[in-house]
């Protein structure tokens, strides 16, 4: 099975939100979809599943074009489910009933929903009315409903919202398990480090298109990743080509930029001495790409003046549109969010 989106264009009046989007996703794949708020992630989902009119383009599943006819839309809806909004659950229904409802509608052959309940550790609350649930419980229920529907293609929008770390890990693991059943899963999430745990490929929406994507299997170039403030950059000079200096003072130095291991070791030690933050070696993760794409790279020239003075990507202004204040808020939060990928070597 494959999902192909061809020349997809969406506009609201004269405002073009997505333009000429093209991609193909094979089965057994989890795609992480990343973009700041308001860049069109949900619109992309809504367009593919035909929840909104599309101006141009084709939705092709397994080579079959699903047109805008009632019959085709219904056939498409048999193949695709969309992650429910936890605020829109039926308050007077129990969790089990919600799961059974999705099972009955999409996957009536499946008799046993208890397996799903056990798999997601929901047995303690799932027979209570939804109105008694916390945000995290609701979110897990929505995920369970998707599992019960068991469609070939699943769109998971903001799936990790409200989940505690244990449940984030649980859901991530189940995502990987169901992927192996031949699914195509697209996950939109702001937990960028978490996306690296289970996604096969990451799509970054920008400029109304899939601006950049990378396959995590082929993304093997390793970097030394650490933090260094602008005023201490000079201590690291000279830096090899392709070194990235990103917002939040994150620096990513390609390992292959050094000829000898001791040079690399020296840089690691230097970075550790320049900052209290953790230094690691690994491939560039979604977090680094996100900063690079949406916040732009900063100049590697040491800055003797006060302030950040980072170079902004030409597209950055149009994509993110952050005010300075918002940017500052995000900056401090991102420092917390930036996780070291499991595959990274830490120092």
């Amino acid at each position: 099975m494959s999902l192909q989106v061809k020349d997809l264009t969406i506009s609201y009046g004269s405002n073009v939100v997505l333009k000429d989007i093209n991609f193909t996703i094979q089965d057994n794949t989890i795609i992480g979809l990343v973009a700041p708020n308001g860049t069109g992630k949900t619109t992309l989902f809504n367009a593919i599943i035909r929840f909104i009119p599309i101006n141009k383009g084709q939705i092709i599943v397994d080579g079959k074009v699903y047109k805008n006819t009632t019959r085709d839309v219904r056939a498409l809806h048999k193949l695709v489910t969309f992650f429910p909004d936890q605020a829109e659950l039926y308050e007077d229904f129990t969790g089990v009933e919600h799961i059974q409802m999705y099972r009955d509608i999409w996957n009536p052959e499946e008799k046993d929903v208890q397996k799903i309940i056990d798999r997601l550790n929901m047995d303690g609350y799932v027979r209570d009315k939804v109105k008694t649930y916390s945000l995290g419980m609701r979110q897990r229920l929505c995920f369970a409903m998707m599992i019960a529907a068991n469609t070939k293609i699943m769109f998971m929008d903001e799936i990790m919202n409200g989940l505690d770390p244990v449940n984030v890990e649980l859901v991530s693991r189940v995502l990987q398990e169901i992927k192996e059943e031949g699914k195509i899963i697209i996950v939109a999430s702001h937990l960028l480090g978490n996306l690296d745990d289970y996604s096969d490929e990451i799509y970054f929406l920008n400029n109304k298109d899939v601006y950049f994507s990378y396959d995590r299997k082929t993304n093997t170039r390793e970097f030394i990743k650490g933090y260094v403030s602008k005023d201490k950059l000079e201590a690291l000079q000279p830096l090899p080509a392709d070194t990235l200096y990103l917002e939040t003072d994150r620096i990513c130095i390609p390992l292959d930029g050094f000829e000898h291991d001791y040079d690399r070791f020296e840089v690691v030690e230097l970075l550790r001495s320049l900052s209290d933050e953790e230094v690691s070696i690994g491939v560039l993760g979604t977090q680094e790409h996100y900063l690079r794409i949406y916040k732009g790279e900063q100049s590697l020239e040491p800055d003797t003046s006060d302030g950040e003075g980072g170079q902004t990507d030409e597209d950055d202004e149009t994509v993110t549109g952050y005010t300075a204040e918002e940017s500052g808020t995000r900056k401090s939060r991102r420092r917390e969010e930036t996780s070291v990928a499991d595959s990274d070597t830490r120092f």
């Binding site: 929840f51 909104i52 009119p53 009632t70 909004d85 659950l89 007077d92 229904f93 009933e97 509608i105």
Partner: protein
């Protein structure tokens, strides 16, 4: 079918639906009790006052007019009607049936005399060559009424039905309830029940109800069937409850008592039970159409008051047509109000049952065609319907 189960649960757990259905049951179930609390006219007095019509008419006629052979016959019949009116007043006042025990030979039979009375009135209308014709018929009940009354009593005579002076009998209470149901009442109930069927989902459960592999059209059918079934289970149980309550203390059900059913230019008398069955079936069909319309409109409008108002407007269109008389005999919407149609309010429509059923079929097709288009539109989260672009 699987979706129908969940739609049913959604409806039955909705507090608005529950309150409406319980309220509907209480209203219909208690109808006969409150109906029987009414103060009814004393039929005995009615008949007595009617006797003056014939005396006054006699006094209005000159001796010369009454001197002819024709005048003699008119005189005799006027006198007879005055006598009959008195007898009818006495019999009905005794409330023993068609006659009074031990006085049969004196007071006669109520039904037979009623037939004779109306036969005489019709006779007066036929005397067009009588010199004082206008004075003769001035105080008489209308010819159509006399004819209907004659047929009513002929029907009773043929079936041996006893006259029932109890206007609050279980049969009459049932008849009144069915007449109430056949009016705008049922349209209001249908409109209120169906007005938020889709809009509630669009407002509160959008992401769960979008993208189902079942067409909106199919969901429309399912929801209409569920709402309609629930509504009619409640109404039918309510009717039975009301009838059972009315039986308390009653000496007969009077379900065989005749009531008029207009068929074209003719009036046919049928039993209360037959009338109940015929009108209930018509109301069931009509309420299905009204529910269908209301539920369909709830897909378009999120404002339930607007939906209710629009559904009611459709069913009040007949009144608008009344002010354009030439339109009133061609407008199929006139059949949307069953009771007025059956009682010939829409003269000269001359309602036939098959015409009503045909009108319902036409309305069904019109609604179907309109919503075939509507359900190709996409309900967006913002509450708009957007056209799918090709």
């Amino acid at each position: 079918m699987k979706l129908a189960k969940w739609d049913f649960l959604k409806i039955i757990r909705d507090s608005k639906s529950r309150v409406l259905l319980i309220g509907l049951f209480l209203f219909i179930g208690s109808f006969s009790y409150f109906y029987q609390q009414n103060e009814f006219l004393d039929l005995s007095d009615e008949y007595l006052s009617e006797s003056h019509i014939y005396l006054d008419t006699f006094n209005a006629l000159t001796d010369s007019s009454l001197a002819t052979e024709q005048g003699q016959e008119i005189d005799r019949r006027l006198a007879r009607n005055q006598t009959i009116s008195g007898m009818l007043a006495f019999i009905i006042g005794q409330d023993e049936g068609n006659t009074v025990q031990d006085l049969e030979s004196v007071v006669g039979d109520f039904v037979e005399q009623s037939m004779e009375l109306n036969e005489n009135v019709l006779f007066f209308y036929d005397q067009t060559d009588f010199p004082q014709y206008d004075a003769l018929i001035r105080l008489m009940p209308p010819r159509e009424v006399a004819l209907e009354q004659y047929e009513l009593y002929a029907y009773m005579a043929e079936r041996g039905i006893q006259v029932d002076a109890n206007q609050a009998s279980p049969g009459m209470a049932l008849y009144s309830l069915i007449q109430l149901l056949s009016g705008v009442f049922i349209i209001i109930i249908a409109a209120v029940i169906g007005a938020d069927s889709f809009s509630r989902d669009q407002e509160s459960n959008w992401s769960i109800t979008q993208g189902l592999p079942v067409t909106w059209h199919r969901q429309w059918y399912t929801r209409t069937a569920i709402h309609w079934s629930l509504m009619w289970i409640v109404i039918l149980v309510g009717i039975v409850t009301s009838f059972l309550i009315s039986l308390i203390g009653a000496d007969s059900t009077a379900l065989n008592y005749p009531v008029p059913l207009y068929q074209g230019e003719n009036v046919a008398y049928v039993s209360v039970l037959t009338y109940t069955v015929i009108v209930t079936i018509l109301v069931m069909i009509l309420s299905y159409l009204a529910l269908r319309l209301a539920i369909g409109m709830s897909f378009i409008f999120r404002n339930i008051y607007l939906t209710i108002a629009l559904v009611l407007m459709v069913f009040f269109i007949p009144y608008a047509f009344l002010i354009i008389p030439p339109m009133s005999d061609v407008n199929p919407l006139l059949y949307l109000q069953i009771s007025p149609a059956l009682e010939q309010w829409w003269y000269p429509l001359n309602t036939q049952l098959w015409q009503m059923l045909l009108s319902f079929a036409v309305l069904f097709i019109v609604i179907e065609l309109v919503f075939l288009y509507v359900f190709t539109l996409i309900p967006t989260r913002m509450g708009k319907l957007e056209r799918r672009r090709k």
